[in-house]
Each structure stands twice: as C-alpha cells, then as structure tokens.
Amino acid sequence: MSAHSSQVPLLETRDLQRAFGHGDHAVRAVERVSFSIQPGEIVAIVGESGSGKTTLARLLLRLLDSTGGRILLRGEDVTDLRRSNDLKAYWRKVQGVFQDPFAAFNQFYTNRRVLENALKLLNHGLPRQEHTQRIEAALREVGLDPADTLDKWPHQLSGGQVQRVMIARALVIGPELLIADEPTSMLDASLRVTVLNLLLALRKQHNMGIIFITHDLGQAYYVSDRILVMYQGELVEQGPVEKVFAMPKHEYTQRLLADVPRLRGA
C-alpha cells in the first residue's frame, strides 16, 4: 500500500482522546490515538475486551464526541461537526457495522425499513422504483435473495444473514469508509469466513476503506493490510500485517499472538 502514502489519507486521527467522567475518576477509554487509513485499505484494530476498541469505533463514526484530538476525513477536520446536515454528509462517506447483528435491528420493523431508512440519508429524490432497485442490488451483492429477505423480520434470519443485511445497509449508502466493529465475533467460525470474504469483495468492487475491529488475530491476519494493536486505550503497535506477525515488538502483541489457539498446536 506504499503507493498511497503520498496521497491525503482517507481518514486520519491525531491524538484522539475520549475520557468518561471527570477529574480523578475519569476513565481514559481512548488515549492519544493517531493513525490513518488510505482509500481501499483494510486496517485491523486488534485488542482485548476493555481496550477501547468500541469507543474508538464510536468516535470515528461520530456517534460519540471526543474529549481531545482531531479526526480528519480527506484532510478536512470533522471533529466538531454538530449540525445535522454536516453529520449526514459525513455519514454518507463513513458508515458502520456492529457486533451484535440482532441488537442492531429494531425488532419492531422488517428488514425493508432499515434499508429504506438508510436510503433517506442520500436525500437525492430518487424515484421509488430506483430505491427498490438500489436496495435489491445491495442485497444481491451480499449474497441474499431480495424477495426472500426484504419482508422478513430479523429474528426469522440466521445471525450470518442478519449481519449481511447490515452490510447491505451500508452498501446502499455507498460509503468510502466502513467501520466494522467486531462484525464476526458473534458468528460461528463457518459464517465468519463468508462475512470476511464479503469485506474483501467490498474493497475490491468499490475501493472501500475498511476499519476492521476484532479481538481475533487470525481474522485480522486474513483480511487486513495493516494491523493496529490497542491496549488500555492506546495504540501500542502498528504496521503491515506480515511485520507485526513476524516480529511483534510490543510485549502485549506477543502475548496476544501466543494466546491464539491454533488448530494444529503452536
């Protein structure tokens, strides 16, 4: 990915911070995190539970305000976006997929609604027919049959299928950056692979940048170009996948790597 390094990064953070609470009791969930991602790059953020990964995802999605540092999208400072229209413009370019596919659905509505709501964000007055076409195309791209999916309730689908609908939702919007917060950790191993393959396909088809957050180094290794290791709110190591795996510098990365169960022993 060295070809990209001269360009303006797709997304960049500088000393990004988030503390909860005040004074001595403040919990520093994210502490001085600086990294960048290029268009079409897949970056994995790896860390154990409580390392601040999810807080970082919410900061990057602008669902949570930071308490310090900056976020830049294509060089433009988006840290202080507050107005609804500005945020909508941001979310047209940056979208998310979350950990628990069932919790990400409002159980009172069918799949159709979540997809149509996503289209509202685009706000360009497409005729209704094109709405449907766009939604159906997105569903087909994630490997689901629109006729068999649209009018179903989330609990009528399997976990893997629901997670695909969530990815289709992001596809409908067509962002430049997808932030996937542990999208596979609640899925079976057999389904994980299909979701990971889907992320790889998105990058190939749409040149989408993807931030893939996980606690599983095996998955990070499979999909990503670069790995950032997060420990207690800080980035303790970052680099190309091969390098991090071959020569983990930080003690924590070494431990993570050693603790991953391997099919045929260590």
Binding site: F98, D100, A103, N106, N117, H155, S158, G159, L187, D188
Partner: protein, 301 residues
Amino acid sequence: MTVATSEHASFDSGSVFLTGLRKFFGIFGMINRRLLFSGCMLVLVVGFGVLGPIILGRDNPMKTVGGLYDPPSATLWLGSDNFGRDVFTQLMHGTRTSLIIGVIAGLEAILIGLLIGTMAGYLGGIVEEVLMAFTNVVITIPSIVILILLSIAISTRSIFAMGLIIGLTSWPWTARAVRAQTSSLRTREHVDIARLSGAGTLSLIIWEILPYMLSYVVMAFVLQLNTGILQEAALSMLGLGPSNTISLGQMLHWALLWESVRTGAWWGFVPPALFLTLIAFSLLLLQASVDEILNPRLRKR
C-alpha cells in the same frame, strides 16, 4: 450472545414483546384468572357508567325525584340523596365523570411523563439534570396542595379542566421511570444504526425508543388512570370537584356534609365508596396481571 452460542436461537429469538403479544392474544387458551376477573369488572363498571344512563333513560342526575334521604324502594333503587336526587342515577353519571377525569388525567400524565422522560434520558447532560431537578421538585411538593390551589384559582371547573389539573401533578413518577428506560435504550445498537441513517432526535425517540417501552407505557397509563380517579375523589370530597355535574367524590362530599353517616342513610355513602374501591382494585389487579404476561420474569414464580 445469541448468535454463535444459543442452540435454540432459531426458535426462541422472538422478542420478549412478541412473546408477550402472542401470550396476550392467546389469552383464551391461557387461564389468567386475575386478568379475566379484573377485565370483566372494568367492562362492567365502564358499561354501567357509559351505557347505563342511555339504556335506562336516566339522563339528568340533578333532577329532584324524592325527599331528603328516602330509603331504597322500587322506583328509587338506591334511595335518594340529601337533595332528593336519585342515588342510582347519580352513581351511573358519577362513575362516568370519574372515569372521564381519570382518563384525561392519565393521558396527560403519560404524555408529560413521556415527553420529559424521553428528552431527559435521550439528550442527557445539562438538559437531563434540569428536567430531572424540576421533576423532583414537583414530586416533593404535596400534590394535594397544588391541586387545592389550582382548583380554587379556577372558578368554573369543567370535567376537562379537572382532568388537566390532576394530570399536571401526577406525571413525575412516570417521567422518572421513562428517563431510566430511555437512557438504557439509547445505547442500543439499533439506535446507533438509525442515527447513522441520519434520523433526527424526535424520530429516534418515536420510532426506535418508544416501541420498546410500549408495554411499560400501557401499564403506567393504567396506574395513572387509577391515581387520577382517586385524586378526583379526594378533591371532590373537599368540595373542589367539577362544577355543575356529579362525580363519585362529590357524592361522598354531599353525603358527609348532610350527615348521611350519622343519620344511618347508608345509601348515601356506601355505593360511591364501594365503586371507588372496586375501580381502584380492578385497575391495580389489571396492571399486575398484564405485567405478569408481558414480563416473563414474573411468570410462574
């Protein structure tokens, strides 16, 4: 925790709410005697107050038809009151008035409670602190004092005004419970997803948060209805009831004032007191049994 791990995810992932609904409509198969009993009682009471006067053609409860405390007879089924008015007719109209005031007060309390609770719970920060401080102030002032002052301030008190006045003091508990539920619901992932689709605050509250509180709102309304009816009775007994009409509380007010207890004219005070107790009891029972159906944790304890 459901996808990868629960073996029965495919057949028990239906939400608590849907299970609740299924149970609710499967009520005829499921014997919940308490629900059946309280439901029947309420249907009877409402029918008595709303349809009774129409069926029996007794449309004027203020008409003098007998003397001072005439005992029950074939024409005056429950005797007459201190002004010689028919107690049975008054009981029907009084029940209706009390129910209407209760519904108005209950709806108002729920609406204010939902508005303040969801705003505070969703927006958080300073808004939450200010709104909750205000709520706590309203809770600490004895509501009967506010009610008395308000009632005195308004010279002609219509049924509608009475309902509004009562609702104005009974919302804080709802607001507090709603705030607590909202602040836990707003951290759910589906709310984040809706935000990422550009949904505004109002639309989030209405479409993403309120549906999850539906069962709670129904139950809170039943409780607020009960509170409203009892508050009306308290005010009316003090002589601050609605003008130019009769309510259960006003019946008690006149019975006390004209010494029906001392003179042994039981028909003056027993029927309204009995009806108030009955309504309150049925509403509380209804609330408890609906809660049991919607809330699986309470089932089969």
